[in-house]
Every structure is written in C-alpha cells, then in structure tokens.
Assembly symmetry: D2
Amino acid sequence: MPTEQHANEPPPAHVRVLDGQGWVGLVSHMGDETTIVNAARVSFGKRRESMDERDIVLLKYMLDNRHTSPLEHIAFTFIVHCPLFIRSQWHRHRTWSYNEISRRYTSVDLECYVPPEVREQAETNRQASVDPVHLDQAAAKALIAAHNQASIDLYHRLVGMGVCREQARGSLPQNLMTTFWATVDLHNLLHFLELRDSEHAQWEIRQYAVAIKQLVKPYIPNLAHILGW
Amino acid sequence: MPTEQHANEPPPAHVRVLDGQGWVGLVSHMGDETTIVNAARVSFGKRRESMDERDIVLLKYMLDNRHTSPLEHIAFTFIVHCPLFIRSQWHRHRTWSYNEISRRYTSVDLECYVPPEVREQAETNRQASVDPVHLDQAAAKALIAAHNQASIDLYHRLVGMGVCREQARGSLPQNLMTTFWATVDLHNLLHFLELRDSEHAQWEIRQYAVAIKQLVKPYIPNLAHILGW
Amino acid sequence: MPTEQHANEPPPAHVRVLDGQGWVGLVSHMGDETTIVNAARVSFGKRRESMDERDIVLLKYMLDNRHTSPLEHIAFTFIVHCPLFIRSQWHRHRTWSYNEISRRYTSVDLECYVPPEVREQAETNRQASVDPVHLDQAAAKALIAAHNQASIDLYHRLVGMGVCREQARGSLPQNLMTTFWATVDLHNLLHFLELRDSEHAQWEIRQYAVAIKQLVKPYIPNLAHILGW
Amino acid sequence: MPTEQHANEPPPAHVRVLDGQGWVGLVSHMGDETTIVNAARVSFGKRRESMDERDIVLLKYMLDNRHTSPLEHIAFTFIVHCPLFIRSQWHRHRTWSYNEISRRYTSVDLECYVPPEVREQAETNRQASVDPVHLDQAAAKALIAAHNQASIDLYHRLVGMGVCREQARGSLPQNLMTTFWATVDLHNLLHFLELRDSEHAQWEIRQYAVAIKQLVKPYIPNLAHILGW
C-alpha cells in the first residue's frame, strides 16, 4: 500500500518562505522555451527542433510587444502552503486551477501563522505597511500567537461538543495555514508575478512570488534573463 | 456632494439571510428571455421582437440538451454580505467578476457571524452536518460569539499598537462578515445554483443560492418554471 | 405570432461599416460609470448613489494603474455582421460570449464581402498592407466579386445534388458574411479595442472597433474622455 | 542552425485523419493519474507517491459526481492540421490556448480539403448529414476539388497583382487546411470529447476527437477504462 503523506509536507522541489512557516513546491511542468518559439513560429508556418540566437530575439520581441499567447503552452503545477489571507489574494487570480484542503472534511494539521516581523501601518498609503520603528515586536507577536492558539483550542472544544467542522472552522483565524494545488500557464504566471512580486503587494505574498521565480527559472533561462529576474 | 453609504448596507432590491446577519442584493441586470431565444435563433439566421409559445418550447429544448451558450448574453450584478468562509467557497467560481472590501485598506464595520443554529457533525458523511440533537446550542453560540468579539478586540488592540491592517487582519476569524460585488452571466449562474442550492452544499451558502433564485426569477419566469424553482 | 426578422438585418442602434456591407449593433447593456466607481469603492467599504468630480479622478486613477476589475460589472451585447475572416480574428478573444449563424443549419442569406478598396501588400511588414498605388483596383475587385458569386453558385449546386450543408459550406469563401451575437464586459472590451483599433490591426476589423467605440461612448462619457476617444 | 520544418508536417506522435489529409499530433503533456488523485486528496490533507486500487475507486467517484477540478492539473498540447470550418468549430471552445498559422503573414503550403466521402443532407435533422445513397460521389468531389484549385489560383493571381495577403485570403474557401497549436487541461478536454466524439458532431471533427482519445489514452489508462473508451 502506498505511503500516505500529510499535505502540509512539501514535495522534493520546494522553497521555504515566511521564516520556514510556509513553502511553495513545484510538482510538474510542461513545455520549455523551444515550445514557446515553435508555438509562435506556427504563425509563419514553421517549426524547429531546437533553439538558436534568432529564437532568443523572437522571445524578446514577443515580450516587448505583449504577443504572449505562445506562453500559454507552458504550464506549471505548484503546491502552496500559506496563511488563509494569502490564499484569498491568490484565488482572486481566476486563470489558475486550484484544489485546496477542505476544513469541511478534516481537522488534521491545524497550525497558524505568526509574522516573523510585524510591520507598521504606512501613514501615506492606506493599503501599505512599512518597516517597524516604534512597534513592540515581541508584544505584538506574543498576542498574535496566543490568539492563534486560543482559536485552535476553541475549534477543538466546539468539535468536541459535537459542532460540525464546517461551522466550527468559522472561529479559526485568517492566520490559519492552508495547502492547495495550483496550476497555471506561463502567460498568466507572468501576470501574477508582475502584480505580486511588486512593492504594492503585501510582503507575505511577495515572498511566494519570489520563490516561484526561483523554482521556474531553470525551465525558462532566456525568458528569465530578458525579464531581469 | 453625493451621500456616502456604508458597503454593509444593502441596495433596495435585496433578500436577508442567516437570521438577518447576511444579505444579497441585485444591483443591475442585462437581457431577458427574449434575448436568450434570439441569441439561440441566430443559428437559424432569424430574430424576433417578442416571445410566443414556440420560444418557450425552444427554451426547454435548450436546457434539456445543455445548449446553454445563449444564456451567456444575460447577466446579473449582485452585492453579497456574508461570512469569509462562504466568500471563499463562492470565489472558487472563477467565471464570476468580483470586487470585495479590502481589509488592507479599512477597519470599518467589523462584525462577525454567529450561526442562528449550530449543527452537528454528520457521522456518515465526513463533509456534512445534521440537525442538532444532543448539542448544547446556547453554550456553543455563546462560545462562538465571545471568540468573535475577542478577535475584533485583539484586532483593534494590534492596530492601536501600530500594527499594519494587512497583518492585524490575520487574527480576525473566518466568521468575519465581508461584502463583495459579484457579476455573472446566466449560464454560469445556473451552474452555481445547481451546486450551491443542493443538499451537498453547506447550509449557509445554500441560503444565498435560494435568495438569488428569488431575486432573478422575475426576469426569467419561463426558465424558472422549466427549472422547477 | 411575432414577426420574424432575418438575422442579417441590424437592430435599431447600429453603425454600418465596410461601405455598408457590414454593421455592428448594440442590443443591450448593463451598468454605467456609477457602477464602476461603486464597485471600486467597495474596497473602502463605501457606496454612493451618484457621481461627482472625485469619482472622475478615481476613474482616471483606475485606468492609469490598471485596476480594471471594477470594469467587469459593465457589460454590452452586440450583434456583428462581418466577413468570416474577421469573425475568426474576433473569436480568438475568448472572454466574449458568442452565438453565430450556423451553416450546418441554414442556407439563407448567403452574401460575400468585396473590399471597398483593395490594399497592397506592405514591403517592410509581412503582416501589413498599405494604400494602393500601382494596383488595378477595378480588376482586383471584379475578380473577387466573380469568385464570390461562383462560390455561392457552386454551394447551391452541391446542395441541389443532395450534398449536406455542413460539407457544401467548405466551398464558400472566407469573404462570406456571417452574423453573431457577442457579449463582453467593459474590461475585456477595452482590451479588444486597444488591440483592434490599432495600426497593427487589419483595416476591416478596425472599422468594427471604431464603430463599437461610437456605440458605447454615450454610456461611459468620462471614461471615453480619459481614453482620448 | 536548427533545421526548419514546415508547420504542416506532423510531430512524431500523431494520428492521421480524413483519409490522410489532416492529422493531430501530441507535442507535450503534464501530469498523470497520480497527479489527479493527489490533487483530489489534498481536500483530506493527504498525498501519496503512487496509486493503488483505492485511487481507481476515487477516480471513478470523481467522474460519477462531476468532481472534476483535480483533472485541471493534467494538460496536453496538440498540433492540429484541419480544414478552416473545423478550426472554427474547435475555437469556439474558449478554455483552450491556441496559436494558428496566419494568412496575414504567409502564403506557404496552401492546400484544401476534399471530403473522402460526400454525405447527404439529413431529412429529419436540419443540422445533420447521412450516408449517401443517391448522391453522385465522383461528380460532387470533382466539383469541390476543382473549386478548391480555382480558389488557390485566384489567390496567387491576386497576390501577383499586388493585393495584400490579408485581403486576398478572403477568396480562399473554408476547405483550406490550417495548422494550429492547442493546449487544454484534462477537465476541459473531456468536455470537448463528450461534445465532439458524438453523433451530433460533424463527422470531420469527430475524427479528430477519436484521434485525440487514442493519443492521450496511454497517459490516463484507468480514466479511459472508466469512460469506456
């Protein structure tokens, strides 16, 4: 019988983020840069078996002119382990395919995120945060950690009283860690990375975007170079 | 200067659910049953200005044979006020367009859901719940309500210490009420309603599905009749 | 009994293009600029009943920063009458909903496009055309028109011999006029217009893009102004 | 320098259809049945390295209950060589990614489809065809072949006169063969195959659907068995 692993253990190819509390792993991929230029070259009625310098010029031309439909023939499947509030940002990207651990089904592996560093509210930008200057880090983290634990304790208490999981989970905080499979084509991945590896993005999701660049770079070395990764 | 309303107040056309804690409102719509049959009839190279009995037969034929592409020319925009855990189920439907209150931007109107009735875990179906028999309703609801309040209190305390909103929200529970705009075409709405007004759906989201049927029924009376609403 | 019109007659609100051979009509629409700013403003937890100067600033900000998700709550349904080769370009836009006359079903209303002006192949840009200098316009148009007619004649001859419509249509040229319903939200419509009302687009599809701008402008006057239409 | 192939030559893994005039080739794929069950099993918080009997039961359960989102982590890229009228049917499926030879760019490799067998119009079903009884096969095929050739000849004559390719192509018939890359996930592929390997589908596209089943079956043997392929 095959050994069963917990979903909150990463696959072999992964990058840890958020001080080791989260990770993103690469499960499978399809296509490479030869695929991209051949999909582009079908416009001219041509195809090649390998790449040369002219193909790198073509790659650059495609990106510069937003002719990115050939990138849709390249795809990646990731497993992501992250807090719920990051999951919700991520799932707003509707061109990905997702499967997530369901808290209607299972109570296993409840764990919550505590920020490695608590940031301060930015004064000038209502949706942003800044590096902490005045903040009592230790106090804030202790409060968050204690509330995380109290939430998990209450969850177990409610379930122990007979409350169904699908309602008991309502008391679990958005710091709860979740795990999901996520598949996307390269065109839509680049759009995600542009928005999420950005100074406008929340620090936490940006760490995942940076980690994904690291995981996919070996499969698209010339594109990564052109994009300045 | 136009009067500014809070997003957690419903628009005029709305249905309250979850014992009045949530609601769904209809903001705008496009097209009607004449639109559907004319979009279907373009296949034959025809169009009419009004409907008669033959069109109702055509509607029924379309639904029976899953020729539902003409339904995509009908659209509805709703505003939804619901708990976060329902929002997450809803947003898995990727054919809708969403805009949601952002807890990176604002701390206004924090309120949390307490189930009008706490249900018991089903013994036989791991993801389902059943009507409560042995459960101490009052005790469970009091525990949930107290934890909701403690979570909001902690949130305000963290923000008061200088913690940025985007991290402080991590302590808010999935019972937190949220508000979002949601636009969908009729083909994808019917798919949503089939999955969510179902005994397999969580009770809470089912109440929203039932309310949506009530809101859209006047615009698609013959379809509603055919579907047995 | 409702009067039946041919699908190749335009609805009341329409713009003729291609020297009157084609047209695009507006069938229905949903939402306006108040909808857009309210959908955007839900991020802050607010809503208003009407617009003022601050909303126009917000509209401009949204376009400048590509925060265009609120535009998805605005939708338009068009009917398009165009040559098949334009239809194929159009249908590459996968975020629209389409219903088209089916040449498996019907032989009615066969008519073909003859360019009002035949353009010359560009020397420098392999996919472009230029205004004609050396070309014998009258001769080229006569050849095209004669072949269009010969193709329709062959189609009818094949059908007369008993050949099924779905195979006989294979002899009809890409100049054949077709009619389709097309629904799209404003975010995706703007993307279409950016690509198709462009010097890189084929002249024929560009005329449809220009006509669409004319049809939708009354519903989004401030947006149109910001976009420089 | 890499050898350049014409796009109308199939890749190594391919199936010829339409009496050898068309083909569909498999270029790349991602994931297998282990991927599917692991993506499904993340709901329970689990993952395995290989499959056993319980996984086949799970696969069957997923298909029977339309829990097909885990199939979206499996993807295939095909190259398709088919007549334009089949291409147009295919491209109505908006969940695929496409790149096609552009007749704005190139005049290479013009060839047209002649049906291996010409079918008769069905009497009872307006959109269907039936096996020929009374039809003069040889005469019909000769007419179609002659018109195909006349169309290509006219195209070259127009281009010779200086007419731009993007307008000259309007005289090419829908029997023109085209080539396109097409990527799709397994959930949407199964939907395509259900509609297109069906007695309601046009015979020509059905041959492509049957060929695709043959190409992907080795990668999903248990699913193929469950589906009765």
